[in-house]
């Protein structure tokens, strides 16, 4: 009997987390009038055209592809550069090794806001303001410190025997890294990739400041602009449809890979 309040509490929190998402998805199928007059009702007849309108007219499709491109590019670059740097720092003693390591790691604890103003002008002076490439490079720069921090420990913990043998067989340094160490570090790479993906996919502040051209908006930015901008013609159902489009793929992927994602996302904090 004592379990009942506990279950109620758990069910309560399930409602609190799940219901707003469900509500958004249901609202995406309503007409504007239904949304404005009866927030809790079900749609009289599902308005699937809301999704088509959001995808094309409200540019959600373009924002989505922009996000995929920017986050994909940044994630790939972050993993490559981060893994290389972490490996070099973890397994090659050289003068200044510790210094370079702390140079990377220290910035994890600085608030992004401190860098915001000069970063804006740096990106602008390089002619990269409002370009996907600029965002990719900045995302990468801001994601590598954690990647290095995480993978540094991982590479340190890997056994040296296989690498030694490979060197004896005449394998190059790069060859050892790509063919031997990188595959051995796979679990760590996956964890940090998931962590980075969530962080980059959900990034709002950096694109808000560095990506001012509406054609290049990423998803988070595009949705925020749609909901707050002047001159936007009050298309609520389209906006809810856009929200749903933005949420669904991530949630669906999560339900499939939830164990890895939960482990990956919390990997950093658990260490």
């Amino acid at each position: 009997m004592r379990r009942i309040p506990l279950h109620l509490a758990l069910l309560g929190w399930t409602l609190v987390t799940g219901f707003p998402l469900l509500w958004a998805a249901i609202s995406a199928l309503k007409t504007d009038r239904e949304i404005l007059t009866s927030p809790w009702s079900l749609p009289e007849s599902p308005q699937w055209t809301n999704f088509a309108r959001a995808w094309t007219e409200a540019d959600i499709g373009r924002y989505f592809l922009n996000s995929v491109l920017v986050v994909g590019g940044a994630l790939g670059l972050t993993m490559l550069l981060g893994a290389l740097a972490a490996y070099a720092l973890a397994r090659y003693p050289f003068r200044g090794n510790r210094f370079v390591y702390y140079l990377f790691v220290a910035s994890m604890f600085f608030p992004t806001f401190l860098a915001l103003v000069p970063l804006f002008f740096t990106v602008q002076q390089l002619g990269l303001l409002g370009t996907h490439l600029g965002l990719i490079l900045v995302y990468t720069a801001f994601a590598t410190p954690f990647t290095i921090f995480f993978l540094h420990a991982f590479f340190r913990g890997l056994p040296s025997a296989v690498a030694e043998a490979a060197f004896l067989d005449g394998c190059s340094h790069a060859g050892v890294f790509f063919r031997i160490m990188l595959p051995m570090a796979r679990p760590g790479l996956i964890s940090v990739a998931i962590f980075n993906f969530l962080g980059l996919w959900n990034q709002y502040l950096l694109p808000l400041v560095l990506n001012p051209d509406p054609d290049n908006y990423v998803l988070a930015q595009g949705l925020a602009a749609l909901s707050t901008s002047q001159g936007y013609r009050g298309d609520w159902s389209g906006l809810f449809a856009g929200l749903t489009i933005a949420m669904l793929p991530v949630l669906a992927a999560y339900v499939v890979f939830q164990r890895q994602i939960q482990a990956g996302a919390t990997a950093g904090a658990l260490r």
Binding site: L10, W13, L84, F113, P118, I148, F177, Q262
Partner: protein
């Protein structure tokens, strides 16, 4: 390594280092210089004004409101999120058969609880902006459907409520992550500890206080630092969701928003940089205090 391989090290390190220096270190360093100037972003040169910007911070009512609000969040967000996360994690893990095993459906719960973590903060803000709408929103709609019209409020437009409406969303979106974090840490606690406690006849609260919490203390401390940094931010939610934004009348102003507005609306880049520097020192002080306080706690509990 037997071979020196310095050429490889250089090739491996330089690209990351280059990006880091250009887009991370140099902006941070420049921020300190800019904070001592009156630069407006267009005029050819910046005038050195010493500490004037910092002096002005002290008499800028919006900035002071922002500091106050960030401090309120700093006191409430970590506590609320950690308490709720610990409660839910414990309930999931020990909620069944006299505290010996996980509650039924634990997997399902932890999946759903994690959902908000997957959403961009911008999406969360847009979603909750609609949920808080006084006339067609989810919350007031629900209250009215239950006949509780008297409880319906203009959540984001009442100064006494607005910041807590923002806080609720911050907690809502953060709990899932810390719940999973704490669950994973609890999995690492040996079963025998709990079985011994049960044999001693310890109640659930005692078990939690005497075994779970001390063994989770490192994680709680990490969570506290992370959440504290989140509490010193809050920009995206406030900027998208609140009246003004930052209102009503500064009730939800946060330092990040003040900085953003001064830089990109008022063209006071030097002054905005000073806010960034102030925020940096605030974060630093918080992190040092949190880590030191945590260490003392741990000694007491050990």
């Amino acid at each position: 390594m037997r071979r020196r391989g310095l050429g490889f090290v250089a090739c491996a390190l330089l690209p990351a280092l280059l990006l880091h220096v250009v887009f991370v270190l140099s902006p941070y360093a420049q921020a300190f210089y800019l904070s001592l100037t009156d630069w407006n972003g267009v005029a050819g040169q910046a005038r050195f004004v010493g500490l004037d910007n910092f002096r002005q911070l002290g008499s800028d009512p919006l900035f002071l409101a922002a500091v106050r609000n960030n401090l309120v969040l700093l006191l409430t967000l970590p506590l609320g999120t950690i308490a709720l996360g610990l409660f839910l994690a414990t309930a999931l893990k020990f909620g069944s058969r006299g505290g010996r095993s996980g509650v039924r459906g634990a997997r399902f719960y932890s999946i759903v609880f994690f959902f908000p973590q997957l959403l961009s903060v911008a999406i969360v803000a847009v979603l909750w902006g609609f949920a808080y709408n006084p006339n067609s929103g989810l919350i007031n709609g629900g209250l009215r459907a239950l006949g509780l019209d008297g409880l319906a409020r203009s959540w984001l437009a009442e100064p006494g409520l607005a910041l807590f409406a923002v806080l609720a969303v911050l907690i809502w979106s953060g709990v899932g992550f810390y719940l999973v974090l704490f669950s994973a840490a609890m999995d690492a606690i040996p079963r025998e500890f709990y079985e011994a406690a049960l044999l001693d006849g310890a109640g659930q609260w005692t078990t939690f206080r005497r075994i779970t919490l001390p063994l989770l203390w490192d994680n709680v401390q990490v969570a506290f630092v992370y959440l504290g940094m989140a509490a010193l931010d809050g920009f995206a939610l406030v900027q998208i969701m609140t009246v003004g934004p930052g209102g009503p009348d500064g009730a939800t102003e946060v330092i990040g928003l003040s900085l953003y507005r001064n830089a990109f609306t008022f063209s006071r880049f030097g002054y905005a940089a000073a806010m960034g520097v102030a925020l940096f020192f605030g974060t630093l002080v918080f992190a040092v205090l949190a880590l030191r306080a945590g260490r003392r706690e741990r000694v007491e509990l050990a």
